[in-house]
Symmetry: C2
Subunit: 559 residues, 2 copies
């Protein structure tokens, strides 16, 4: 452990991941040494119209770029690695990750043209990394993607543990056991602060083992008389392995469809995380040449995503795979909140095609288990680590709150538990902690190539436009006497179907004309007044007639 | 039973309610006699931007208005009565409903100015109504609103049973027992076709009794040391009664907040469906004058609806009720699919205010049960009625499909089960059934005062506008030589934040100018060409620069 400087403080804060599910990014700073854990993205909320993805605001890191010693990545999920192409563009610092995680990241960096300039360091659960005064080590955890680790950071002020995403799976697929002994040993040595995954803090009991799914899948494969299509998360390599196993056990070949599924299967096979015997995988084009009961399809689309392979199959618009009556379709996932309707629609369409669809109408089906630990596992982690301070992370506020209650239940002092917002710092000095000042934190919205150029005004306009559309009112006035030379012309988009509403728009036209005439008579001729008056008069009229408030854009030209 | 005419057929079809949850409207026609069951609304799907509500297309009924003998209403939920103000405007026919249902409908008709001209007939479970050649009788069912009935229609071709929405609750609140004997008797006499509620056909087992909630509520009320706020569906009078009982048992007064909650409590109390001792209800203004442990609040907002009372309390913008640290808030409902994020946000905000929030993170909590029967109850109904033909109704396609499988399981012939879309007719003649021709059916969208004036083109425009906004390009050309007299001016709404993107818009300006100059040189001067060329050139440029596709509206004026 490095020497302790009496003036130095330990700071812990989140730039993303608390009060939300997604864009995880946590920061541990001691003196002049900053260590970042994860750099994820978040998918837009329903009021972020037109936005593609959301990443954390990293102003604090770019302003302190000379202090950032590296970014440690816990695992290869998008909400932990998806922000990297944007973050590394502004902050060229070394990246530490395990083999599969690094493999997935490298694909992203290549696409972003950042692979060459990024220093990437392969770690495993035995690695120790000195990052200035902070020593990082790692411990294996169970999660819905292989090669997940937790992080142990020894700082001069004490040890900080970050669990990453985890569950305790006592019968893991591929024998990827969690490092119970190492975790216990970290706890035995004494931990100042624990940051732990709160995703399932609302859920009682234990999360079932991933391996429970294997026999269920094999059962369904065995009973199926025609083709079997399995949709699941592309990143769930354990699940994919079990689909492969079920296919082999029932003498089926596997076609892989969907860009991200092909990508993950390729990388995970190359790196040795998937065991697929040669000759098992076939090209999607070959499906139709084979007997239906000799074929399985592994697909994306378990969330009903509109452009995904399964959705296209369900709509009969997939170029290579047609669903036939009697085919079996397994959706091996539960809908992420917000996706229920999409998934429901996909199931409906598959049933209409005559498929036998196996899906989880409730929260648990036999073909999906969560990758996050439930309350008993969270308490187990708390008791293995026995930290002095506890910061629940990775969850909406209500999940952090429930996790805090679990912390109290296992005996952590209430005042030693910090529920924080993104940007709230917790300061540790001389063994005690308190809330420190705030650092900048927030959502950076990405729309197409634009990073941060869509803000509240643009989003508010999109919202208004989406509700009642827009009317553009064009009129040309004479510079000399203000007489109307042409127009008013009213162009409507997203307001009413014009052919049905001719009378309304004609009347609107008259309102604009008479408003302008009145203003002329009153000698009002500043543009701003003219526009405001036209907007108000027309807006009032349309609201009375339709109870709608379209955006009104008056364009007044003088020639 | 009326005389049978050998040429007459029995037709059954849905104008709303199959392949969807909402806008229930079923039609039974024998010869020249049409009986309608229910006239509901549906809330808009997420791609129906700006739409307020959706009602069924009733073209078939208006075209056959002289044959429509009446509308029978099974119960007072919006998805069964909410379309009435629109339907009755075009179709003035008698309405048959039970007391509470009629009370709720009358409120709606009054608002719509239709109360006077609508013939309303009060029925109860003993009523028999002759509607041309069709005799209607009714049977009590259990559901999440009192006074729910199923309908039995004796036609010359045979008996048709429509269950309405139902569960079998063996310990109902207020002793509202289902008419098991009457249902069994209908079955004993022989039923040609059953139309039965499929809402919970995906759910195994039995739906728990509403009365289970009472003791749970009382328990929470007893433990609460401060105020208790309960949010639930306004129409769930049984639930409201249990909240009242819990408040009385724990010596609390009740304030009622939220427009629809006040409305239902008033009507249900007046009609005798709620038993609230005098002095129990207080005005919301009085809350702050009373000891916190003597107060309960009954509120709307269990779905996290943005404008509801609970949401406003959670955001500290309710004018009369502030949530204090230590208050208990019970959300006695589960989120309807699509509302999960809204409810989650409300829970988060309440927790942030320091409230103790009791909600159901999974699909079932101790403070909510469904009003719809699960698989065992659906099978019980099928076996009580033992119909020859079965048409699952009231549900998305996957629910109808699961219900059909239950029908097969209890022994109905597969070819005697009809899964239909809205508008598909099933024809019965001489005891056998077949799919008949289609009648017009679909969604009529209501936006403000407009009924049906928003169609696919308007919705497509709203979708485009919501994603990337709009750019209006204004330019004035000389009539004589086509020279640019003013502009191009580019106005952006919902595209980019202008101040951040000045360079982009300046460049866009240059693109428009050079496009126009080139066209002038090539002697292209038809407006349509000019507009298309400007649109294409600008669209291409913006997509290259931003990967966005805003709507582009070129406005070219000639003077």
């Amino acid at each position: 452990m490095s020497k302790k400087n009496i003036q130095d403080k330990l700071l812990i804060f989140a730039l993303g991941g608390v009060g939300e599910i997604g864009k995880n990014m946590y920061v541990v700073q001691y003196g002049n040494d900053i260590v970042v854990v994860d750099a994820g993205l978040k998918f837009p909320e329903e009021d972020m119209l037109g936005i593609d993805i959301v990443i954390p605001d990293i102003t604090y890191l770019t302003e302190n770029r000379d202090k950032v010693r590296g970014i440690l990545i816990t695992h290869g999920h998008e909400d932990h690695i998806g922000g990297l192409p944007y973050v590394l563009k502004h902050l060229n610092v070394p990246l530490y990750a395990t083999k599969l995680t690094l493999g997935l990241i490298e694909g992203k960096l290549k696409e972003a043209g950042l692979l060459g300039e990024t220093k990437r360091i392969l770690i495993n659960a035995e690695s120790e990394v000195q990052l200035g005064s902070i020593k990082a080590s790692f411990f294996k955890t169970n999660h819905s993607i292989p090669d997940s680790v937790g992080v142990c950071l020894d700082t001069p002020e004490g040890t900080v543990v970050h669990t990453g995403d985890f569950k305790f799976d006592h019968t893991p697929v591929n024998n990827q056991y969690a490092d119970l002994q190492r975790i216990a040993d970290i706890g035995r040595r004494g931990v100042l602060a624990l940051l732990s995954d709160s995703t399932n803090a609302e859920r009682a009991g234990f999360t079932p083992s991933e391996s429970m799914i294997g026999s269920e899948l094999e059962d369904i494969f065995r009973k199926a008389t025609q083709r079997v299509v399995v949709a699941t998360f592309a990143s769930n390599v354990h699940r994919i392995q079990q689909v492969v196993n079920a296919a082999i056990a029932t003498k089926r070949k596997i076609a892989v469809v969907g860009r991200s599924m092909v990508n993950v299967v390729t990388i995970a096979s190359e790196l040795g995380y998937l065991n697929i015997p040669e000759g098992t995988i076939i090209e999607p084009e070959e499906i139709n040449k084979m007997a239906a009961d000799r074929v399985a399809v592994l697909s994306t689309g378990s969330q009903g995503e509109p452009m995904s392979a399964l959705t296209r199959m369900a709509r009969s618009t997939h170029r290579k795979v047609d669903i036939m009556p009697g085919d079996t379709v397994i959706i091996a996932a539960t809908p992420i909140p917000g996706n229920e309707r999409y998934v429901g629609r996909t199931v409906d369409e598959l049933f209409r095609l005559g498929a036998n669809v196996i899906y989880g109408p409730g929260s648990v089906s036999g073909v999906h288990v969560s990758g996050h630990g439930s309350q008993e596992e969270l308490k187990l982690m708390l008791n293995l680590i026995r930290p002095k301070y506890f910061i629940p992370i990775h969850g909406e506020y209500r999940m952090l709150r429930q996790h805090a209650l679990l912390g109290e239940a296992v005996g952590i002092e209430r005042e030693n538990i910090f529920i924080v917002d993104n940007g709230d710092t917790v300061e540790f000095q001389a063994g005690t902690a308190r809330k420190g000042s705030k650092v900048p934190a927030g959502n950076v919205l990405i729309d197409g190539l634009g990073v941060g150029d869509v803000g509240n005004i643009v989003l508010r306009d999109r919202k208004l436009l989406s509700q009642d559309g827009i009317l553009v009112v064009v009129v040309t006035l004479s510079k000399q006497d203000g007489a109307i030379l042409s127009g008013p012309d009213i162009i409507s988009r997203g307001f009413v179907y014009v052919r049905e509403s001719e009378g309304l728009l004609e009347e609107a036209n008259r309102i604009v004309t008479s408003t302008l005439h009145k203003l002329m008579n009153d000698k009002v001729n500043e543009w701003a007044s003219l526009k405001t008056n036209v907007k108000d008069a027309l807006g009032r009229f349309l609201y009375e007639q339709t109870r709608r408030r379209p955006m009104i854009l008056p364009i007044i030209m003088e020639v």
